[in-house]
Symmetry: C2
Subunit: 339 residues, 2 copies
């Protein structure tokens, strides 16, 4: 067992940091104590989730965000940025490593930036647990901004992105302007929506479609809120009497051409504005609490299963599975017998 | 509690079928006994998973597949087709219902076809459990083909699609020809790859890129297999001595224009050919066993958690969560205290 010194991590020692993340990724025995040792020093980082479909240019956008946050990098006070690329990559292609190398590019050599892919298909405890553990390590290491980038727009990816304080959903023209965008089911988690590749044909249509969808969602939200039902727990509802506009955060829409760096500066302004909103409205604390509650739930799930497996009689289990396969009883009946 | 008669379902009564699926979706108490009653009559249907990124035209392709399978629909022996659209749709937009209405189109009125969306964001027991339960009901109702369509290309979607005997991955030009396709991490689960919207510019490039990736994967597979390591459990490996070509199924690539029905017939031929391959090679049984094993695992996970929640002291839980939020101890330590 390699000893990893929590103090080295907190001092920003990159080797200790890499080792810690690897230990977490492998679910190494020492990683649990390490996380507990680091946890009291967390809660400072601004977590930014970036999600959206493949091909929308998320990685390029994330690189540009990091570059802009680090533009003042010779200043000791410039924010330090970590990127976690949650990457259900192929065992064949080694996508994660390849991705790391490609994305480093002009970010390499800056000590205030740290990039790590999670090549964690079938990870122990699931992607969400691993991401949470990565966040604990990086937050305690003093990174001011942690960008969590998820590939795809599936439920797992959405769940992970929604760990963040600020959620950016990236679309590209020709992908998000039809019923598919509605189906994606990710817009309601967005704080900021980015239409990237805005020089492509159809960008205007995509932006218009997104506006309409947001307005529809907003109207539904308002009518629900007036009726006393809150679809979004964290957003204060307008009162029926005054019909005031909602005092919460309304998702904003940006268009960018990430590959040329266009539109990145106003996007960053909005990220900062959202952070300020969270701080002033008290939502920051609420989001923190929700995130930690979810972490605890996920760990309970994992621990219950692990304990049960340890106590299991494997022969009995194999026999019962065999009976299910031969349709002697259903999976539901099998589980009743097993527990 | 509405009584749902298993016999009515097995006789293909559509009202009973709809009610059963709703009961499953709501995790209604009667749904568990119902599933157990129906389970002995399952194991006949050919499960076809269709997955791929949003905007690739999956729904249109699935409709065309269903139409072609049903072209001989006046014949009593024509295969009956069910479609499960796993749809993490927005609570705002009601995407699932909308989708059902749009997709019915020219399929409506055919009694040998049944379409159901799962609007199951945050479903009890997860999407995979629900899909498995839907499959049990539809399989026992005598549907010969069950097409499971998942939106997006996230891990959850891939897991669900991989429940199927035959997995079709759909791409579209301009989405799958760069590093994003590698990242998607779904190619290694594909039995058949479809490049849809093949009339779009870049279709040839996409097909070429996919071919190269498959060849790379195949080479890696071969070298691993020769070294005695099997990356794909279910595929028989060539022996080092003879260097015979692999006797398993090599993923095939199709190009289609689903909206015009182009390329559907050869695709269906390939689906049939894959089915025959599974039957003859014994992989059908292996896939069935793997699927049921996963169902049992998923149900165990759900049951352990449910039982634990029932026994939980809520006040203690709230107190511990509060302590975590105030960083008195870490989530890991909290779980140790709770269990």
């Amino acid at each position: 067992m390699i000893q990893i010194d929590p103090i080295a991590i907190r001092q920003g020692d990159r080797l200790a940091l890499s080792r810690a993340l690897t230990a977490v990724e492998n679910n190494a025995p020492e990683s649990r104590d390490l996380q507990s040792a680091l946890f009291p020093f967390t809660g400072k980082a601004h977590l930014i989730g970036v999600t959206g479909p493949a091909g929308s240019g998320k990685s390029t956008l994330v690189n540009q965000l990091a570059k802009h946050f680090r533009q003042d990098k010779d200043n000791q006070l410039a924010p330090k940025v970590a990127i976690i690329a949650v990457d259900p990559s192929s065992p064949f292609t080694g996508g994660a490593l390849l991705g790391d190398r490609i994305r480093m590019g002009d970010l390499a050599g800056d000590k205030g930036i740290f990039i790590r892919s999670m090549a964690s298909r079938g990870a122990l405890g699931g992607l969400a647990n691993q991401t949470a553990a990565f966040v604990t390590v990086l937050d305690s290491a003093g990174f001011d901004l942690i960008i969590i980038e998820t590939v795809g727009a599936g439920q797992a990816e959405v769940d992970i992105a929604s760990l963040a304080h600020t959620v950016i959903v990236v679309e590209a023209p020709g992908m998000g302007d039809d019923i598919q965008a509605i189906k994606a089911g990710i817009l309601e988690i967005a704080d900021i929506i980015v239409v990237n590749k805005a020089d492509r044909p159809g960008a205007e249509n995509t932006i218009r479609a997104l506006r309409v969808m947001l307005e529809m969602a907003q109207r539904k939200f308002d009518s629900h809120a007036v009726a006393g039902k809150h679809l979004l727990d964290a957003t204060p509802a307008p009162t029926a009497e005054t019909q005031q506009p909602q005092s919460g955060w309304l998702p904003t829409i940006h268009s960018t051409i990430a590959v040329d760096g266009k539109g990145i500066a106003p996007l960053i302004d909005d990220v900062q504005r959202h952070r300020q909103f969270l701080r002033e409205s008290g939502e920051w604390q609420q989001k923190e609490a929700a995130r930690l509650r979810r972490d605890v739930h996920a760990l309970i799930r994992e621990a219950l299963l692990t304990r049960w497996w340890e106590k299991l009689d494997e022969n009995q289990f194999a026999q019962i599975l065999d009976d299910v396969i031969h349709r002697k009883y259903s999976p539901i009946e099998a589980v009743e017998k097993l527990l």
